[in-house]
Assembly symmetry: C2
Homo-oligomer: 204 residues x 2
Amino acid sequence: MASGLRERKKAETRRALASAALRLARELGPDGVTVEAIAEAAGVSPRTFFNYFASKDDAIVNISPTEQSMLLADLCDRPEDEPPLDALRAMVQAAAARFAEDADEMLVRHRLAQEHPSLAMRRSARFAEVERALAEEIARRTGLDVDADTYPALVVAAALGALRVATAVWNETGRTRPLPELVDQAFDQLAAGLNRAAAPASPA
Amino acid sequence: MASGLRERKKAETRRALASAALRLARELGPDGVTVEAIAEAAGVSPRTFFNYFASKDDAIVNISPTEQSMLLADLCDRPEDEPPLDALRAMVQAAAARFAEDADEMLVRHRLAQEHPSLAMRRSARFAEVERALAEEIARRTGLDVDADTYPALVVAAALGALRVATAVWNETGRTRPLPELVDQAFDQLAAGLNRAAAPASPA
DNA sequence: GGAAAGTTCTGCAGTTCGTGCAAAGTTGCG
DNA sequence: CGCAACTTTGCACGAACTGCAGAACTTTCC
Protein backbone atom coordinates (compact mmCIF):
# COMPACT_ATOMS: atom_id res chain seq x y z
CA MET A 1 0.00 0.00 0.00
CA ALA A 2 1.13 3.57 -0.60
CA SER A 3 -0.37 5.34 2.41
CA GLY A 4 2.62 4.88 4.66
CA LEU A 5 4.60 7.34 6.66
CA ARG A 6 6.65 8.22 3.61
CA GLU A 7 3.67 9.64 1.72
CA ARG A 8 2.55 11.68 4.68
CA LYS A 9 5.99 13.13 5.24
CA LYS A 10 6.29 14.13 1.62
CA ALA A 11 2.93 15.83 1.62
CA GLU A 12 3.78 17.65 4.82
CA THR A 13 7.15 18.79 3.53
CA ARG A 14 5.49 20.09 0.42
CA ARG A 15 2.94 22.04 2.39
CA ALA A 16 5.63 23.39 4.69
CA LEU A 17 7.66 24.61 1.73
CA ALA A 18 4.68 26.19 -0.04
CA SER A 19 3.45 27.86 3.11
CA ALA A 20 6.90 29.18 4.00
CA ALA A 21 7.34 30.45 0.45
CA LEU A 22 4.03 32.29 0.55
CA ARG A 23 4.64 33.81 3.96
CA LEU A 24 8.15 34.99 3.15
CA ALA A 25 7.07 36.33 -0.24
CA ARG A 26 4.37 38.40 1.40
CA GLU A 27 6.77 39.76 4.00
CA LEU A 28 9.79 40.45 1.81
CA GLY A 29 8.38 40.51 -1.70
CA PRO A 30 8.93 37.72 -4.21
CA ASP A 31 12.41 38.97 -5.07
CA GLY A 32 13.45 39.41 -1.48
CA VAL A 33 13.07 35.77 -0.59
CA THR A 34 15.64 33.16 -1.54
CA VAL A 35 15.30 29.42 -1.96
CA GLU A 36 17.74 29.05 0.90
CA ALA A 37 15.45 31.02 3.21
CA ILE A 38 12.39 29.01 2.20
CA ALA A 39 14.21 25.74 2.76
CA GLU A 40 15.46 26.83 6.15
CA ALA A 41 11.98 27.95 7.22
CA ALA A 42 10.62 24.55 6.20
CA GLY A 43 13.43 22.70 7.93
CA VAL A 44 14.99 21.05 4.89
CA SER A 45 18.14 21.61 2.89
CA PRO A 46 18.14 24.02 -0.04
CA ARG A 47 18.83 21.12 -2.37
CA THR A 48 15.68 19.35 -1.23
CA PHE A 49 13.57 22.32 -2.21
CA PHE A 50 14.12 21.42 -5.83
CA ASN A 51 12.87 17.90 -5.24
CA TYR A 52 9.45 19.46 -4.65
CA PHE A 53 9.28 22.56 -6.84
CA ALA A 54 10.94 23.27 -10.15
CA SER A 55 11.38 26.93 -9.35
CA LYS A 56 10.97 29.48 -6.62
CA ASP A 57 7.92 30.99 -8.29
CA ASP A 58 6.25 27.62 -8.47
CA ALA A 59 6.49 27.27 -4.72
CA ILE A 60 4.88 30.67 -4.16
CA VAL A 61 2.11 30.14 -6.68
CA ASN A 62 1.73 26.51 -5.60
CA ILE A 63 -0.71 25.06 -8.06
CA SER A 64 -1.41 21.81 -6.30
CA PRO A 65 0.13 18.96 -8.29
CA THR A 66 -3.21 17.21 -8.51
CA GLU A 67 -5.33 20.24 -9.44
CA GLN A 68 -4.59 19.86 -13.13
CA SER A 69 -5.48 16.19 -13.30
CA MET A 70 -8.60 16.89 -11.24
CA LEU A 71 -9.80 19.39 -13.83
CA LEU A 72 -9.50 16.80 -16.56
CA ALA A 73 -11.06 14.10 -14.42
CA ASP A 74 -14.03 16.32 -13.56
CA LEU A 75 -14.63 16.98 -17.23
CA CYS A 76 -14.44 13.31 -18.14
CA ASP A 77 -16.97 12.53 -15.42
CA ARG A 78 -19.64 14.55 -17.17
CA PRO A 79 -22.07 12.74 -19.47
CA GLU A 80 -20.84 12.35 -23.01
CA ASP A 81 -23.82 13.99 -24.65
CA GLU A 82 -23.86 17.09 -22.45
CA PRO A 83 -23.21 20.32 -24.37
CA PRO A 84 -19.49 21.18 -24.04
CA LEU A 85 -20.04 24.52 -22.34
CA ASP A 86 -22.28 22.91 -19.73
CA ALA A 87 -19.77 20.17 -19.01
CA LEU A 88 -17.05 22.78 -18.63
CA ARG A 89 -19.28 24.83 -16.35
CA ALA A 90 -19.63 21.87 -14.05
CA MET A 91 -15.88 21.27 -14.14
CA VAL A 92 -15.19 24.90 -13.25
CA GLN A 93 -17.73 24.83 -10.44
CA ALA A 94 -15.93 21.84 -8.97
CA ALA A 95 -12.61 23.67 -9.19
CA ALA A 96 -14.18 26.75 -7.61
CA ALA A 97 -15.39 24.63 -4.71
CA ARG A 98 -11.82 23.46 -4.13
CA PHE A 99 -10.58 27.04 -4.29
CA ALA A 100 -13.07 28.10 -1.64
CA GLU A 101 -11.51 25.64 0.78
CA ASP A 102 -8.21 27.52 0.92
CA ALA A 103 -9.84 30.91 0.64
CA ASP A 104 -7.34 32.66 2.90
CA GLU A 105 -4.22 31.49 1.10
CA MET A 106 -5.93 32.25 -2.20
CA LEU A 107 -6.45 35.84 -1.14
CA VAL A 108 -2.82 36.32 -0.15
CA ARG A 109 -1.70 34.88 -3.48
CA HIS A 110 -4.14 37.10 -5.31
CA ARG A 111 -2.80 40.21 -3.63
CA LEU A 112 0.78 39.17 -4.32
CA ALA A 113 -0.02 38.52 -7.96
CA GLN A 114 -1.63 41.95 -8.22
CA GLU A 115 1.57 43.65 -7.11
CA HIS A 116 3.99 41.39 -8.97
CA PRO A 117 2.77 40.54 -12.48
CA SER A 118 5.41 37.87 -12.93
CA LEU A 119 3.56 35.75 -10.40
CA ALA A 120 0.25 36.27 -12.16
CA MET A 121 1.93 35.19 -15.36
CA ARG A 122 3.27 32.05 -13.76
CA ARG A 123 -0.13 31.30 -12.33
CA SER A 124 -2.07 31.59 -15.56
CA ALA A 125 0.68 29.71 -17.35
CA ARG A 126 0.09 26.82 -14.98
CA PHE A 127 -3.53 26.66 -15.98
CA ALA A 128 -2.64 26.92 -19.65
CA GLU A 129 -0.81 23.62 -19.28
CA VAL A 130 -4.11 21.72 -19.02
CA GLU A 131 -5.77 23.55 -21.88
CA ARG A 132 -4.44 21.12 -24.43
CA ALA A 133 -5.71 18.03 -22.63
CA LEU A 134 -9.12 19.58 -22.01
CA ALA A 135 -9.42 20.68 -25.62
CA GLU A 136 -8.60 17.17 -26.78
CA GLU A 137 -11.38 15.74 -24.64
CA ILE A 138 -13.86 18.26 -26.04
CA ALA A 139 -12.66 17.48 -29.55
CA ARG A 140 -13.18 13.78 -28.94
CA ARG A 141 -16.71 14.38 -27.69
CA THR A 142 -17.68 16.65 -30.55
CA GLY A 143 -15.90 14.72 -33.27
CA LEU A 144 -13.87 17.77 -34.23
CA ASP A 145 -10.12 17.97 -34.92
CA VAL A 146 -8.39 19.85 -32.13
CA ASP A 147 -5.69 21.05 -34.54
CA ALA A 148 -7.96 22.07 -37.40
CA ASP A 149 -11.09 23.45 -35.71
CA THR A 150 -11.24 26.49 -33.50
CA TYR A 151 -14.16 25.35 -31.37
CA PRO A 152 -12.59 22.89 -28.91
CA ALA A 153 -9.64 25.05 -27.85
CA LEU A 154 -11.80 28.16 -27.89
CA VAL A 155 -14.49 26.87 -25.58
CA VAL A 156 -11.84 25.58 -23.18
CA ALA A 157 -10.00 28.91 -23.21
CA ALA A 158 -13.26 30.72 -22.51
CA ALA A 159 -14.13 28.38 -19.66
CA LEU A 160 -10.74 28.72 -17.97
CA GLY A 161 -10.99 32.46 -18.50
CA ALA A 162 -14.31 32.41 -16.71
CA LEU A 163 -12.73 30.58 -13.79
CA ARG A 164 -9.89 33.06 -13.65
CA VAL A 165 -12.12 36.13 -13.90
CA ALA A 166 -14.69 34.87 -11.40
CA THR A 167 -11.97 34.09 -8.88
CA ALA A 168 -10.40 37.50 -9.37
CA VAL A 169 -13.70 39.32 -8.82
CA TRP A 170 -14.40 37.13 -5.81
CA ASN A 171 -11.08 38.08 -4.22
CA GLU A 172 -11.35 41.69 -5.24
CA THR A 173 -14.81 42.26 -3.77
CA GLY A 174 -14.01 40.69 -0.42
CA ARG A 175 -16.29 37.70 -1.00
CA THR A 176 -19.47 39.68 -0.84
CA ARG A 177 -20.92 37.32 -3.42
CA PRO A 178 -20.33 33.55 -3.30
CA LEU A 179 -17.88 32.20 -5.83
CA PRO A 180 -20.31 29.69 -7.40
CA GLU A 181 -22.66 32.55 -8.18
CA LEU A 182 -19.90 34.50 -9.91
CA VAL A 183 -18.90 31.45 -11.91
CA ASP A 184 -22.50 30.96 -12.99
CA GLN A 185 -22.78 34.57 -14.00
CA ALA A 186 -19.65 34.36 -16.12
CA PHE A 187 -20.88 31.22 -17.86
CA ASP A 188 -24.28 32.81 -18.42
CA GLN A 189 -22.52 35.66 -20.16
CA LEU A 190 -20.55 33.23 -22.30
CA ALA A 191 -23.71 31.32 -23.20
CA ALA A 192 -25.44 34.58 -24.07
CA GLY A 193 -22.79 35.38 -26.64
CA LEU A 194 -21.01 38.03 -24.56
CA ASN A 195 -23.34 40.66 -25.96
CA ARG A 196 -23.00 43.32 -23.29
CA ALA A 197 -23.48 42.45 -19.63
CA ALA A 198 -26.58 40.90 -18.20
CA ALA A 199 -26.95 43.65 -15.60
CA PRO A 200 -26.60 41.99 -12.18
CA ALA A 201 -27.67 44.98 -10.12
CA SER A 202 -27.91 48.28 -11.92
CA PRO A 203 -27.23 51.33 -9.73
CA ALA A 204 -30.03 53.82 -9.17
CA MET B 1 13.40 64.56 -33.71
CA ALA B 2 14.02 61.00 -32.64
CA SER B 3 14.54 59.30 -35.99
CA GLY B 4 18.31 59.59 -36.04
CA LEU B 5 20.97 57.01 -36.52
CA ARG B 6 20.71 56.03 -32.87
CA GLU B 7 17.13 54.81 -33.19
CA ARG B 8 17.88 52.80 -36.28
CA LYS B 9 20.87 51.11 -34.69
CA LYS B 10 18.88 50.18 -31.63
CA ALA B 11 16.08 48.67 -33.69
CA GLU B 12 18.58 46.74 -35.76
CA THR B 13 20.40 45.40 -32.72
CA ARG B 14 17.11 44.28 -31.27
CA ARG B 15 16.17 42.46 -34.43
CA ALA B 16 19.61 40.89 -34.67
CA LEU B 17 19.34 39.61 -31.11
CA ALA B 18 15.81 38.26 -31.54
CA SER B 19 16.64 36.60 -34.82
CA ALA B 20 19.83 35.03 -33.47
CA ALA B 21 17.94 33.82 -30.41
CA LEU B 22 15.26 32.19 -32.53
CA ARG B 23 17.73 30.55 -34.92
CA LEU B 24 19.93 29.19 -32.16
CA ALA B 25 16.94 27.99 -30.15
CA ARG B 26 15.66 26.07 -33.13
CA GLU B 27 19.06 24.49 -33.77
CA LEU B 28 20.07 23.65 -30.20
CA GLY B 29 16.81 23.75 -28.27
CA PRO B 30 15.88 26.57 -25.89
CA ASP B 31 18.03 25.13 -23.12
CA GLY B 32 21.03 24.54 -25.33
CA VAL B 33 21.49 28.18 -26.20
CA THR B 34 23.12 30.64 -23.81
CA VAL B 35 22.82 34.39 -23.62
CA GLU B 36 26.51 34.54 -24.40
CA ALA B 37 25.99 32.67 -27.68
CA ILE B 38 23.08 34.90 -28.68
CA ALA B 39 25.07 38.04 -27.96
CA GLU B 40 28.05 36.79 -29.92
CA ALA B 41 25.87 35.87 -32.90
CA ALA B 42 24.40 39.37 -32.84
CA GLY B 43 27.80 41.00 -32.47
CA VAL B 44 27.30 42.62 -29.07
CA SER B 45 28.54 41.91 -25.58
CA PRO B 46 26.58 39.58 -23.30
CA ARG B 47 25.91 42.47 -21.00
CA THR B 48 24.24 44.42 -23.78
CA PHE B 49 21.78 41.60 -24.36
CA PHE B 50 20.06 42.53 -21.13
CA ASN B 51 19.65 46.11 -22.28
CA TYR B 52 17.19 44.76 -24.83
CA PHE B 53 15.54 41.74 -23.25
CA ALA B 54 14.81 40.98 -19.64
CA SER B 55 15.42 37.28 -20.08
CA LYS B 56 16.61 34.72 -22.58
CA ASP B 57 13.06 33.44 -23.13
CA ASP B 58 11.83 36.92 -23.92
CA ALA B 59 14.33 37.16 -26.75
CA ILE B 60 13.18 33.85 -28.23
CA VAL B 61 9.48 34.62 -27.89
CA ASN B 62 10.07 38.25 -28.91
CA ILE B 63 6.72 39.87 -28.40
CA SER B 64 7.40 43.13 -30.15
CA PRO B 65 7.63 45.87 -27.55
CA THR B 66 4.96 47.88 -29.32
CA GLU B 67 2.52 45.03 -29.96
CA GLN B 68 0.89 45.42 -26.57
CA SER B 69 0.31 49.15 -26.89
CA MET B 70 -0.96 48.62 -30.42
CA LEU B 71 -3.64 46.27 -29.15
CA LEU B 72 -4.89 48.88 -26.73
CA ALA B 73 -4.66 51.64 -29.33
CA ASP B 74 -6.64 49.60 -31.86
CA LEU B 75 -9.37 49.05 -29.31
CA CYS B 76 -9.53 52.72 -28.37
CA ASP B 77 -9.84 53.61 -32.06
CA ARG B 78 -13.15 51.80 -32.33
CA PRO B 79 -16.35 53.83 -31.93
CA GLU B 80 -17.50 54.22 -28.35
CA ASP B 81 -20.98 52.83 -28.91
CA GLU B 82 -19.87 49.67 -30.73
CA PRO B 83 -20.72 46.45 -28.91
CA PRO B 84 -17.63 45.34 -26.93
CA LEU B 85 -17.26 41.99 -28.69
CA ASP B 86 -17.36 43.69 -32.10
CA ALA B 87 -14.74 46.25 -31.08
CA LEU B 88 -12.52 43.46 -29.79
CA ARG B 89 -13.04 41.49 -32.99
CA ALA B 90 -11.74 44.43 -34.99
CA MET B 91 -8.77 44.79 -32.63
CA VAL B 92 -7.92 41.10 -32.98
CA GLN B 93 -8.24 41.28 -36.77
CA ALA B 94 -5.72 44.12 -36.79
CA ALA B 95 -3.34 42.07 -34.64
CA ALA B 96 -3.82 39.06 -36.91
CA ALA B 97 -2.90 41.20 -39.91
CA ARG B 98 0.36 42.12 -38.18
CA PHE B 99 1.03 38.48 -37.39
CA ALA B 100 0.59 37.51 -41.02
CA GLU B 101 3.46 39.83 -41.96
CA ASP B 102 6.03 37.73 -40.10
CA ALA B 103 4.37 34.45 -40.94
CA ASP B 104 7.60 32.51 -41.29
CA GLU B 105 9.08 33.50 -37.96
CA MET B 106 5.68 32.93 -36.38
CA LEU B 107 5.67 29.37 -37.61
CA VAL B 108 9.13 28.63 -36.22
CA ARG B 109 8.10 30.07 -32.86
CA HIS B 110 4.91 28.05 -32.92
CA ARG B 111 6.78 24.81 -33.52
CA LEU B 112 9.28 25.65 -30.79
CA ALA B 113 6.48 26.42 -28.36
CA GLN B 114 4.83 23.10 -29.18
CA GLU B 115 7.93 21.19 -28.18
CA HIS B 116 8.86 23.32 -25.20
CA PRO B 117 5.83 24.33 -23.12
CA SER B 118 7.82 26.83 -21.10
CA LEU B 119 8.03 29.01 -24.19
CA ALA B 120 4.30 28.74 -24.80
CA MET B 121 3.77 29.78 -21.21
CA ARG B 122 5.99 32.78 -21.63
CA ARG B 123 4.18 33.71 -24.79
CA SER B 124 0.68 33.61 -23.40
CA ALA B 125 1.90 35.35 -20.28
CA ARG B 126 3.04 38.22 -22.45
CA PHE B 127 -0.43 38.63 -23.83
CA ALA B 128 -1.96 38.39 -20.38
CA GLU B 129 -0.09 41.56 -19.48
CA VAL B 130 -2.41 43.66 -21.64
CA GLU B 131 -5.59 42.01 -20.41
CA ARG B 132 -5.92 44.40 -17.52
CA ALA B 133 -5.65 47.53 -19.65
CA LEU B 134 -8.07 46.20 -22.24
CA ALA B 135 -10.56 45.20 -19.56
CA GLU B 136 -10.39 48.68 -18.07
CA GLU B 137 -11.19 50.23 -21.43
CA ILE B 138 -14.19 47.91 -21.86
CA ALA B 139 -15.30 48.70 -18.33
CA ARG B 140 -15.11 52.41 -19.05
CA ARG B 141 -17.20 52.01 -22.18
CA THR B 142 -19.85 49.87 -20.55
CA GLY B 143 -19.97 51.75 -17.27
CA LEU B 144 -19.12 48.60 -15.34
CA ASP B 145 -16.59 48.16 -12.54
CA VAL B 146 -13.64 46.13 -13.75
CA ASP B 147 -13.05 44.79 -10.23
CA ALA B 148 -16.65 43.99 -9.35
CA ASP B 149 -18.20 42.79 -12.63
CA THR B 150 -17.16 39.72 -14.54
CA TYR B 151 -18.12 41.00 -17.97
CA PRO B 152 -15.22 43.29 -18.93
CA ALA B 153 -12.39 40.92 -18.04
CA LEU B 154 -14.32 37.94 -19.38
CA VAL B 155 -14.98 39.37 -22.82
CA VAL B 156 -11.33 40.42 -23.09
CA ALA B 157 -10.10 36.98 -22.02
CA ALA B 158 -12.38 35.37 -24.58
CA ALA B 159 -11.20 37.71 -27.34
CA LEU B 160 -7.51 37.11 -26.64
CA GLY B 161 -8.26 33.40 -26.43
CA ALA B 162 -9.82 33.62 -29.88
CA LEU B 163 -6.67 35.29 -31.20
CA ARG B 164 -4.49 32.63 -29.65
CA VAL B 165 -6.60 29.72 -30.87
CA ALA B 166 -7.05 31.08 -34.38
CA THR B 167 -3.31 31.64 -34.72
CA ALA B 168 -2.58 28.13 -33.46
CA VAL B 169 -4.99 26.53 -35.94
CA TRP B 170 -3.56 28.69 -38.69
CA ASN B 171 -0.03 27.49 -37.99
CA GLU B 172 -1.11 23.92 -37.42
CA THR B 173 -3.00 23.55 -40.69
CA GLY B 174 -0.26 24.99 -42.86
CA ARG B 175 -2.19 28.15 -43.69
CA THR B 176 -4.78 26.37 -45.79
CA ARG B 177 -7.33 28.88 -44.55
CA PRO B 178 -6.52 32.59 -44.22
CA LEU B 179 -6.02 33.84 -40.69
CA PRO B 180 -8.74 36.53 -40.85
CA GLU B 181 -11.27 33.85 -41.71
CA LEU B 182 -10.25 31.75 -38.72
CA VAL B 183 -10.47 34.78 -36.46
CA ASP B 184 -13.96 35.53 -37.77
CA GLN B 185 -15.02 31.95 -37.22
CA ALA B 186 -13.80 32.02 -33.62
CA PHE B 187 -15.63 35.28 -32.90
CA ASP B 188 -18.78 33.93 -34.55
CA GLN B 189 -18.62 30.99 -32.17
CA LEU B 190 -18.21 33.34 -29.22
CA ALA B 191 -21.13 35.46 -30.37
CA ALA B 192 -23.25 32.34 -30.80
CA GLY B 193 -22.74 31.44 -27.16
CA LEU B 194 -20.27 28.63 -27.80
CA ASN B 195 -23.15 26.19 -28.12
CA ARG B 196 -21.43 23.46 -30.09
CA ALA B 197 -19.57 24.30 -33.28
CA ALA B 198 -21.11 26.05 -36.21
CA ALA B 199 -20.06 23.25 -38.51
CA PRO B 200 -17.63 24.68 -41.08
CA ALA B 201 -17.59 21.55 -43.23
CA SER B 202 -19.36 18.55 -41.78
CA PRO B 203 -17.96 15.19 -42.88
CA ALA B 204 -20.24 12.89 -44.88
C1' DG C 1 14.54 -8.26 15.54
C1' DG C 2 17.32 -7.60 11.62
C1' DA C 3 19.10 -7.49 7.00
C1' DA C 4 18.15 -6.18 2.18
C1' DA C 5 15.97 -3.11 -1.09
C1' DG C 6 14.14 1.10 -2.31
C1' DT C 7 13.41 5.97 -1.49
C1' DT C 8 14.50 10.38 -0.06
C1' DC C 9 17.76 13.92 1.79
C1' DT C 10 21.88 16.33 1.59
C1' DG C 11 26.44 18.50 0.45
C1' DC C 12 29.33 19.79 -3.26
C1' DA C 13 30.74 21.52 -7.53
C1' DG C 14 29.63 23.70 -11.54
C1' DT C 15 27.00 26.42 -15.14
C1' DT C 16 24.03 30.07 -16.29
C1' DC C 17 21.08 33.86 -15.37
C1' DG C 18 20.34 38.48 -14.32
C1' DT C 19 21.74 43.07 -12.06
C1' DG C 20 24.41 47.23 -10.21
C1' DC C 21 28.08 50.05 -11.12
C1' DA C 22 31.35 52.89 -13.31
C1' DA C 23 34.46 53.52 -17.16
C1' DA C 24 34.76 53.88 -22.11
C1' DG C 25 32.84 54.66 -26.53
C1' DT C 26 29.04 56.99 -29.74
C1' DT C 27 25.92 60.12 -31.26
C1' DG C 28 23.40 64.65 -31.33
C1' DC C 29 23.87 69.49 -31.44
C1' DG C 30 25.52 74.16 -31.21
C1' DC D 1 35.59 71.38 -31.90
C1' DG D 2 33.45 70.48 -27.50
C1' DC D 3 29.87 69.56 -24.40
C1' DA D 4 25.70 66.79 -23.20
C1' DA D 5 23.04 62.68 -23.62
C1' DC D 6 22.92 58.10 -24.51
C1' DT D 7 24.68 53.32 -25.29
C1' DT D 8 27.95 49.75 -24.75
C1' DT D 9 30.96 47.12 -22.16
C1' DG D 10 33.70 44.75 -18.46
C1' DC D 11 33.68 43.40 -13.79
C1' DA D 12 31.91 41.57 -9.76
C1' DC D 13 28.38 39.46 -7.41
C1' DG D 14 24.29 36.90 -5.65
C1' DA D 15 21.08 33.68 -6.67
C1' DA D 16 18.82 30.04 -9.53
C1' DC D 17 19.12 25.49 -10.91
C1' DT D 18 21.29 20.74 -12.07
C1' DG D 19 24.05 16.28 -11.75
C1' DC D 20 26.29 13.30 -8.86
C1' DA D 21 27.33 10.27 -5.08
C1' DG D 22 27.03 9.12 -0.42
C1' DA D 23 24.36 9.35 4.03
C1' DA D 24 19.95 8.66 6.27
C1' DC D 25 15.62 6.90 6.50
C1' DT D 26 11.27 3.59 5.25
C1' DT D 27 9.48 -0.33 3.81
C1' DT D 28 9.55 -5.09 3.03
C1' DC D 29 10.53 -9.57 3.82
C1' DC D 30 12.44 -13.29 6.44
